[in-house]
Amino acid sequence: MRRAALLLSVLPTFQLSAQDDPRISEAQAVLAPLVESYGVSGAEGPVRETVKRLLPAWANAETDTAGNLWLRVGQGDPVVVFVAHLDEIGFTVDSILDDGSLHLRTRGGFYSSLFEAQPALVHGSSGDVPGIFLPRDTGFVRRAPPPLRVSIGSTSRAATLARGVRPGATVTMPKQYVRLAGTRATGRSFDDRVGSAAQLLALRRLDRAKLKHQVIFVWSVREEIGLEGAAVAAAALGPTVKRVHAIDTFVSADSPLELQSFAVAPLGQGAVARALDNSSVTPPAYVDSLVALARARGVKLQVGTTNGGNDGSVFTDYGAVDVALGWPLRYSHSPAELVDLKDVASLADLIQAAAEAW
């Protein structure tokens, strides 16, 4: 019996949840391949391809010069935009040292200690090259390590170059979507693969005949390094957009390590209206209207405030109203991000409702 259990443990854990509600199964089937695609800011190609593969058959998506993926549905004014970002935090290779190791530059904000002494993946020109984030050899009394380096096992600059690794290559850590107890799951880059998945799930259920105006779904690039892809999309659309919904993480304080002064949105209690963050404030009347819509459609919705910026905020420069929507996430920007799949389904329902009936 024990041996059987150990053998099962080497199978992908997400295969072991056979008794799921169909909505949970569907959410997982869309989310897992997105989480297991790699896309540091500026190198989102693999994630974009996964999104395209998961789109409904009728969808005709286009990629703009910045790398954003666009899908236009319905016709007429006013234009409403949903935007989730494709990219994830990570590193780029800054330079290759004489000993063959890689000096890194961070992309996005995170605790570098979470990468120290962990497996690494260098996304080189000839494919992924495995390596390790080197552990420090001094300074053991501090939590934060010195600037991180990666070794791919080579001992000279020439040998590293011969493996197809060049400055500018992106670097991440191997990752896996893993199912936890109940309807919870863990992995790295749920921020913002959950947003990307929720848009896809909403599109699968969207009744296009109900749309009273054009709705544009955007999967944006380079959010983690300054909302850059969204800025390109916002400039392209200008003042035609009435309302924008950033579909992004609600970083939750639902954790024993966090202060409980704000951002307390429990996991499993539904999507969250991200009514105030560090980049935008949703007008209270819009929040009230959203709450009424959710109630009318039977969608679980929480309302809260958290930290961070969102892609919708760059549309406000052109007069759009930013009604950011999210889901509660624990342990943001870590390898152990944790979600409840019920919230993913809830967020998809909310997107569908906002597109069809608001």
């Binding site: 024990r2 390790i132 939590r143």
Partner: protein, 300 residues
């Protein structure tokens, strides 16, 4: 190499002597009974195992199933006896590893930890848990989980968090349960073993990174030597010892239950980044170690 049969313990292997060892053995023994690929496969398999010291039973089950003639002695060590008569020699390795057990379960379903053994073996040993996947080996089988970490976003505009390294007392293990009852339903309780989820990583030119790689790949080389069916001189007792981190209690039990021995050898590979999750060994050196062990067993 300068092999002899003194009673003193010997560590076989290591990068420093790898080149010399390969030269010696390839010229003297071209007929290799086990391929290097097999050693690589065993190394990957062994480094994916978890055997928190004192809780090695699942791994010893696997070893007994793997090794013909393998038995478990009353202390839990796995023993394979090759040959007969004298001299009576011992080849051993340590299969256990530092880890944790559940020390408490909170009302809201988080698990707290106790380090096993008690002392830190490396200054940042506990910190390597923070924000990473762990596996709990509960009554109903392995349970995946993560160790909580503060969200990066929520630290903004607040005073900097403590700069001291993360310790086991900071650890909250999140299995996805919302209550103590939910956690217990997963087969988890006080004393359930917990360790970082193993992800052995081959990289570079036959390098392998994994927690405890030096010891575990040493054991893989020893197992490969046994599977190579050496024609031993006299008796060789092969021991995969438990509880090395409790003052080598497993090894002492081997000596008491299966000794005395005329000579002993310990299978251990030199490792870079020792006692980190990316402890790195050379699989070429592991293959050399396997050959050296076979040579030693055959008394040549």
């Amino acid at each position: 190499m300068g092999w002899n049969s003194n009673k003193a313990d010997r560590r076989i292997g290591g990068w420093a002597d790898r080149a010399a060892l390969l030269t010696l053995l390839l010229s003297a023994y071209p007929a290799i009974r086990l391929t290097a690929q097999t050693v690589d496969q065993l190394a990957l398999r062994f480094t994916s195992w978890t055997a928190v010291t004192g809780f090695e039973r699942a791994v010893t089950d696997s070893l007994v199933a793997l090794l013909p003639g393998g038995t478990r002695d009353r202390f839990g060590n796995v023993i394979v006896t090759l040959g007969r008569g004298s001299p009576r020699r011992l080849a051993s390795c340590d299969i256990d590893e530092p880890g944790y057990v559940v020390g408490n379960i909170t009302d809201d379903g988080y698990l707290r930890l106790r380090r096993v053994p008690g002392a830190l073996l490396a200054p940042l040993q506990d910190q390597m848990l923070e924000g990473h996947r762990v596996t709990l080996f509960g009554e109903a089988g392995p349970v995946p989980a993560v160790v909580a970490v503060r969200s990066t976003h929520l630290a903004r505009f607040r005073a900097a968090a403590a700069e001291a390294p993360f310790t086991v007392d900071d650890a909250f293990v999140d299995v996805g349960a919302a209550s103590r009852v939910e956690a217990e339903r997963l087969g988890l309780h006080v004393l359930t073993p917990v360790a970082l989820t193993k992800r052995p990583l081959p990289y570079g030119d036959r390098l392998l990174a994994a927690p405890r790689a030096g010891e575990r790949v040493g054991c893989a080389a020893l197992a490969a030597a046994v599977l190579g069916q050496p024609k031993v001189r006299g008796t060789v007792v092969v021991a995969f010892a438990v509880q090395s981190l409790y003052a080598s209690k497993g090894a002492h039990a081997v000596a008491a239950l299966h000794g005395p021995f005329d000579a002993t050898a310990v299978a251990l590979l030199d490792a870079r980044y020792h006692l980190t999750p990316v402890e790195t060994v050379s699989l070429a050196a592991a293959d050399s170690l396997r050959r050296a062990l076979m040579t030693w067993m055959e008394g040549r």
